[in-house]
C-alpha cells in the first residue's frame, strides 16, 4: 500500500466514519442531558430573563475575548485568557477561513466562501500552536490548573495539538513527503473527531446551556450578568 492509498482511505472512508461518530456522539450527549429533566422556575422575576441572556452573550462573545479585563479576573489568569483566546480565535479562523479547509467544507456542503490569504492563515496557525504550548505549560505550573489536570486533560491537549502541528508541517513541506504529512494530518483529524464526543472537547456544545442559564439567573434578579 502506498502513501497515496493510505491517504485515500484516511480522507475517504475513515473521515466519513469519524465525522459520523462526531455528529452521532454529540447528538447522543446532547439528547441525554436534555432529557434529564428541567424543573420549571416558579419564582417571580424582578427583571427580564431574556435581557440577561442577551447581555451575557454580548459580553461573552463580543467584549470578553477582546477586552478580557472587563471581567476583573484577568490579572491572575493572563495566560489562560490570552493564550486561550488566541487558541480559539486561531483555531476557528484556520478551520473556516483557510483555503484548503474551505475546499474540504465545500466538498461536504456543496458551497464555498471567501478565505484569508495563506500568509495570514499561516501566521494564525503558528500563533495558535504557540498558544497551545503556553496553555500546556500553564497547565503544568499553575497550582489550580495542575490540580484539575488528569490524563484526560493531557490526552485532549495532545489530540488537538497533533492536527494543528501536522497541518502546519504540511503547508511548509517539513521533514516528510507531502503525501506522508497529509496522511498524518488526516489521521490525527479523524482521531480527534472521534474523540470529541467522549471528552471535554465537546464543551462548545454545552457552552450555550451554561451561558443561557447564567444570563437568565442574573436577568431574573435584574442584575447585570
Amino acid at each position: 500500500m502506498t502513501w497515496t492509498d493510505t491517504l485515500e482511505f484516511l480522507r475517504g472512508p475513515l473521515f466519513r466514519i469519524a465525522f459520523l461518530v462526531f455528529i452521532a456522539g454529540l447528538a447522543y450527549r446532547l439528547i441525554r442531558v436534555v432529557t434529564l429533566g428541567w424543573p420549571k422556575d416558579k419564582v417571580l422575576s424582578a427583571g427580564s430573563k431574556a435581557k440577561g441572556v442577551a447581555t451575557t452573550y454580548v459580553k461573552a462573545i463580543g467584549i470578553f475575548p477582546f477586552i478580557p479585563w472587563v471581567k476583573k479576573t484577568f490579572n491572575g489568569n493572563a495566560v489562560t485568557f490570552l493564550a486561550g483566546g488566541m487558541f480559539h480565535v486561531g483555531l476557528i479562523s484556520v478551520i473556516l477561513l483557510g483555503t484548503a479547509h474551505m475546499l474540504a467544507w465545500k466538498s461536504l456542503l456543496g458551497f464555498g466562501w471567501p478565505t484569508l490569504s495563506l500568509p495570514i492563515i499561516d501566521w494564525l496557525a503558528a500563533a495558535t500552536i504557540a498558544a497551545m504550548v503556553a496553555l500546556l505549560v500553564n497547565r503544568l505550573t499553575h497550582p489550580v490548573v495542575r490540580k484539575l489536570s488528569g490524563p484526560a486533560e493531557f490526552l485532549n491537549w495532545t489530540l488537538v495539538f497533533l492536527p494543528m502541528v501536522t497541518g502546519y508541517m504540511m503547508t511548509h513541506h517539513m521533514f516528510f513527503r507531502y503525501e506522508t504529512l497529509f496522511s498524518l494530518h488526516m489521521l490525527t483529524v479523524d482521531v480527534m473527531l472521534i474523540w470529541i464526543p467522549f471528552s471535554r472537547l465537546s464543551h462548545f456544545v454545552f457552552y450555550f446551556f451554561s451561558r443561557t442559564i447564567h444570563g437568565a439567573q442574573f436577568g431574573k434578579r435584574a442584575v447585570t450578568p
Binding site: 450527549r29 441525554r32 442531558v33 436534555v34 432529557t35 434529564l36 429533566g37 428541567w38 424543573p39 422556575d41 416558579k42 419564582v43 417571580l44 424582578a46 427583571g47 451575557t56 461573552a60 470578553f64 471581567k71 476583573k72 479576573t73 490579572n75 491572575g76 489568569n77 489562560t80 485568557f81 486561550g84 499553575h142 497550582p143 489550580v144 490548573v145 495542575r146 490540580k147 484539575l148 489536570s149 486533560e153 467522549f198 471535554r200 465537546s202 464543551h203 456544545v205 454545552f206 457552552y207 446551556f209 451554561s210 451561558r211 443561557t212 442559564i213 447564567h214 444570563g215 439567573q217 442574573f218 431574573k220 434578579r221 435584574a222 442584575v223 447585570t224 450578568p225
Partner: protein, 422 residues
C-alpha cells in the same frame, strides 16, 4: 453508607440544569481568581471548580457511560467516605456561596448553585460541620438558631418598644405588610428593630410582626437541606397567609432574602400575589414616593463612607442601585465605591453559614483582609451595609485586625437622618 446517601442525592438532584453545566466546564481554573477564599489563602482546594468536583465525579461515575467504564475498569476510584469528609470542609468552611465565581467563568457556569447542590448531598448524608448542624438543630427545636424562643421574642420586642419609645405591632390582622427580622438583629443589633419600626411608622406603612413567623434566618438553607429550608420557609408563608398580608419585608439579612425571595416558590407553595421584598428596596421606595424625607448630607463631614455589597442582597438579590440612591442623599460628598463593587463585589467572608463554624475562623479572617484593603484603597473610614450577617463578620474582622474602620447599618443611618420622625 453515608457516601451512598450523598451520591444518591447528587444523582437525584442532577437534572439537565446541573448536568449541562457540569459538561460545559473546561477545567481552565479561571474561577479560582474570583474566589476570595482562594485569593486570600492561595489554597487550590478552594478553587470553586474543585468545590464541585465531587458532584461532577458522582455525575460521571453514576450517570455517564464513560464514567461507568472508568470505575468498572478501575481507572478511577469510586468516591469514598473520606473524600466526602474532605469536601464537607471545603464547601462549608471555605465558601460563602456568594457566586462571584459565576461572573468570572468563561463558560458562564453558575457555580454558586452547584456548590449549594454539593451541600445538599452532604447534608442528606449527615456530613454538615458540627457547629452548623447544631445551629440547624436549635432552629428546629426552638424556632431560632440564636435561641429566640416565643418568650425571648416577646421580651425583646417589649424591651425595644420601651427603651427606644417606638411602636412595634405584633400579629396585627389586616396589615398590609409583615416584617420579619433575623435573630441576629433581635439579639445583637436591637437598634435595627427600633430604627426600622420608626421608618415604617413614619412612612405610614400598615405593618406588623408575626409571633409565628418571627425568624427569617434559615439555617436549613446554609446546610443545603431542602427539607429543612422548606420547613423554615413554610412558617413564614403560613404566618403571612394567616395575617392576610400582601407583602413580606425581609430586613437586614442576606441569605434569608435569597431563600425567601429567590428559592421559596420552587420549594413550597407561595401565593402568587404575595410580594416579597427587602427593606433596602422599601426604604428607597419610601424616599422616592416622599413618604419619608431624609436630611441631605446628614452623614457628610465625618470621613469617607463606602457601601459593602452583600452577596445575597446585591449580586444575588438584585438591590444594587437602591442603597446607592439612599447614600447619595445621606452622604453625597463622602460616599465612595469600593473596587470591585456592585455585582462584582467581594463578599465579606462570613456568609453562607461560614461565620457559624468555629473551624472556619482562620479562613474567614484571611478573607476579611481583602475587605480592609478595599476600604483603605477607597479611602473609607466607615463601611455601610444592609446585611446583619456581614455586619457581624465586619465587627469580628476589624477586632481581629485591630482596624479603625467604623461599621454602620444602612437602616440605622436612614432612621437617623429621617426628618419628622415620631
Amino acid at each position: 453508607m453515608s457516601t451512598q446517601i450523598a451520591l444518591d442525592t447528587f444523582v437525584a438532584e442532577t437534572g439537565g440544569w446541573v448536568a449541562a453545566q457540569l459538561e460545559a466546564c473546561t477545567r481552565c481554573g479561571i474561577c479560582a481568581e474570583a474566589c476570595h477564599f482562594y485569593q486570600a489563602t492561595g489554597n487550590p482546594d478552594f478553587a470553586p471548580v474543585w468545590k464541585i468536583e465531587v458532584l461532577r465525579k458522582a455525575y460521571e461515575q453514576r450517570m455517564t457511560p464513560g464514567g461507568k467504564l472508568k470505575t468498572a475498569f478501575h481507572i478511577e476510584k469510586k468516591i469514598d467516605d473520606q473524600e466526602l469528609l474532605d469536601w464537607s470542609k471545603i464547601v462549608y468552611e471555605a465558601c460563602t456561596v456568594c457566586n462571584k465565581c459565576s461572573m468570572a467563568c468563561p463558560m458562564g457556569i453558575d457555580l454558586g448553585p452547584l456548590i449549594h447542590n454539593v451541600r445538599t448531598g452532604l447534608a442528606a448524608a449527615g456530613l454538615v460541620p458540627a457547629d452548623l448542624a447544631a445551629a440547624v438543630q436549635k432552629q428546629l427545636d426552638e424556632g431560632s438558631p440564636l435561641g429566640v424562643t416565643d418568650d425571648v421574642f416577646a421580651d425583646r420586642i417589649d424591651w425595644v418598644q420601651d427603651d427606644w419609645d417606638v411602636d412595634i405591632p405584633i400579629d396585627k390582622e389586616g396589615s398590609d405588610t409583615m416584617v420579619v427580622f433575623s435573630s441576629i438583629e433581635i439579639m445583637k443589633f436591637p437598634e435595627n428593630l427600633a430604627d426600622i419600626a420608626r421608618i415604617l411608622n413614619t412612612a405610614g406603612e400598615n405593618w406588623t410582626l408575626s409571633s409565628k413567623g418571627r425568624e427569617v434566618v434559615n439555617f436549613g438553607f446554609y446546610e443545603g437541606s431542602p427539607e429543612h429550608t422548606a420547613l423554615f420557609l413554610q412558617k413564614l408563608v403560613d404566618a403571612a397567609t394567616e395575617l392576610k398580608v400582601k407583602k413580606i419585608v425581609v430586613t437586614e439579612c442576606g441569605h434569608a432574602y435569597d431563600a425567601l425571595r429567590w428559592t421559596a416558590a420552587n420549594l413550597i407553595d407561595v401565593p402568587k400575589e404575595l410580594e416579597i421584598t427587602h427593606i433596602v428596596a422599601l426604604m428607597d421606595k419610601f424616599v422616592s414616593e416622599g413618604k419619608i424625607k431624609l436630611k441631605k448630607g446628614a452623614f457628610d463631614g465625618s470621613g469617607g463612607i463606602a457601601f459593602h455589597d452583600a452577596c445575597k442582597i446585591q449580586r444575588r438579590g438584585g438591590h444594587i442601585e437602591e442603597p446607592r440612591r439612599l447614600l447619595n442623599i445621606l452622604a453625597p460628598e463622602s460616599f465612595r465605591e469600593l473596587t470591585p463593587n456592585k455585582e462584582q463585589a467581594i463578599c465579606c467572608g462570613g456568609g453562607g453559614g461560614v461565620i457559624a463554624i468555629k473551624e472556619a475562623d482562620p479562613y474567614r479572617f484571611a478573607v476579611f483582609g481583602l475587605k480592609i484593603d478595599q476600604a483603605k484603597v477607597a479611602g473609607a473610614d466607615t463601611v455601610v451595609m444592609a446585611c446583619s450577617n456581614c455586619r457581624l463578620q465586619f465587627l469580628d474582622g476589624i477586632q481581629h485586625y485591630g482596624s479603625e474602620l467604623k461599621i454602620k447599618g444602612l437602616s440605622n443611618m436612614v432612621a437617623e437622618a429621617m426628618e419628622g420622625a415620631n
